[in-house]
């Protein structure tokens, strides 16, 4: 039997303990619970303590995913994040060490909110190539460290969090086997989701560089439309790759960007909206962590069950997008 397919066999998540409600934000910014809910569907998000770094969140989620899988070791760690502990080096090696995984391969993947999907595809590729027999794929982001404190639109949307899955080599017919991932990008939209300053194009501290902007910015309207079209189309392509028609899709677990985006994606795919689990109302948009967090929530609330023909899809800065099919396995999220 071939054992070069990646099989999802563990799921773990972590949220920092401090919840920030819409009313909390309204005390500080010109906004309101109504304004935020009607535009985004978000009610609460979690914010890490200032002494925390992305690796701390990633380690917690990674430890839980390993426990969920019953694994003590893996051959590689792939971490998706937009908020690494430092610009250099990558955060994944430190995470691997803190998880007691020794000298395994470990690196970061940068695809903003699509990061988890890209990391999942890379992890599946390591397994298909025979480089690794098992991979810990983590999505962890701490957007609280890159948001403009005065920007009510991004502060209402983003929350901190981490989620992880364990992939192992197996057969294509097993529950949890990943379909062939669909990935895409479009650099013509590279200015829609940005942190302008602090990279090689505009290093911080350069004399005469004008006004540096070290904060995360997003052009909401253009992003909205791109997100809907790209996620819906990538999802249908990923479904076709495993032989599913649109109506065969039991659950579409999409990047939790905005409730209105989730609804528009479902509408474009002609999928009943209730097949798209919603988690953003409780945690906001957690960027690379959103899909594992939404999966865990859907399983523990009974909305996602073993055997469900499930599609994962995401869209993010770059622009980037992706989708992947999986028949949901019997696993217990930790």
């Amino acid at each position: 039997m071939n054992a070069d397919t990646a099989v999802l066999c563990g799921l773990g998540t972590w949220l920092p303990p401090h919840a920030v409600t819409n009313d909390d934000l309204a005390r500080e910014l010109d906004t309101s619970d109504d304004w935020i809910r009607s535009r985004t569907g978000i009610g609460t998000r979690y914010v890490a303590a200032p002494s925390t770094a992305t690796s701390d969140l990633a380690v917690e989620a990674g430890r839980r995913a390993l426990k969920s899988a019953g694994f003590e070791s893996v051959d590689a760690v792939v971490l998706a994040t937009t908020t690494p502990d430092h610009p250099c080096p990558a955060t994944a090696p430190l995470v691997a060490t803190q998880l007691g995984l020794g000298t395994v391969a470990a690196f970061d993947v940068g695809a903003v909110c699509t990061g988890f999907l890209y990391a999942l595809a890379v992890g599946a590729g390591l397994i298909a190539a025979g480089t690794a027999g098992s991979v810990l794929v983590i999505g962890a982001d701490m957007y609280s460290s890159i948001l403009d404190p005065a920007d009510r639109s991004t502060r209402a949307i983003f929350g901190d969090g981490a989620g992880a899955v364990v992939l192992r080599s197996g057969g294509a017919d097993e529950p949890g086997a990943l379909g062939t991932p669909v990935l895409g990008s479009d650099g013509t939209g590279s200015d829609l989701i940005t942190i302008r300053s602090g990279g090689s194009r505009e290093p911080l501290g350069t004399i005469g560089a004008g006004h540096p902007d070290p904060y995360f910015r997003m052009a909401g309207k253009a992003v909205f439309r791109n997100a809907v079209e790209r996620m819906a189309d990538a999802s249908l392509t990923a479904a076709r790759r495993v032989g599913w028609a649109a109506d065969d899709i039991d659950r579409l677990v999409a990047h939790q960007a905005n409730l209105r985006i989730l609804h528009a994606v479902a509408d474009r795919m002609r999928l009943p909206r209730h097949r798209c689990p919603v988690h953003l109302d409780q945690v906001g948009n957690t960027a690379a962590a959103s899909i594992p967090l939404a999966l865990s929530h859907a399983v523990t609330t009974g909305r996602l069950a073993p055997g469900h023909r499930t599609l994962l899809t995401a869209f993010g800065g770059g622009l980037t997008w992706g989708a992947c099919a999986v028949r949901w396995p019997t696993i217990t999220p930790v």
Binding site: R39, G220, K221, A222, F224, R225, V228, E229, N258, R260, A264, D267, R268
Partner: protein, 79 residues
Amino acid sequence: MTSTYDRLVGLLAKSFGIEADEVAPANTFEDLELDSLALVELTLAAQEEFGITLTDDDLHAKSSLTEAAEVLDAKQVTV
């Protein structure tokens, strides 16, 4: 055959719960309190309804429903 204007009013009802008797041809989307995201949602819904491709600027806040119906008509002719 249902006119483009009537189909547009139907989309407003379906997508945003704005009933036909609440709107007039001279109303702009702004009058109907559609925010910028709602205009994107309407753009996506209109593409599906009419089988056309719209740019981000085809439907804007200051468009009246009559003007928007003309834009949709023009797109259908050129397809």
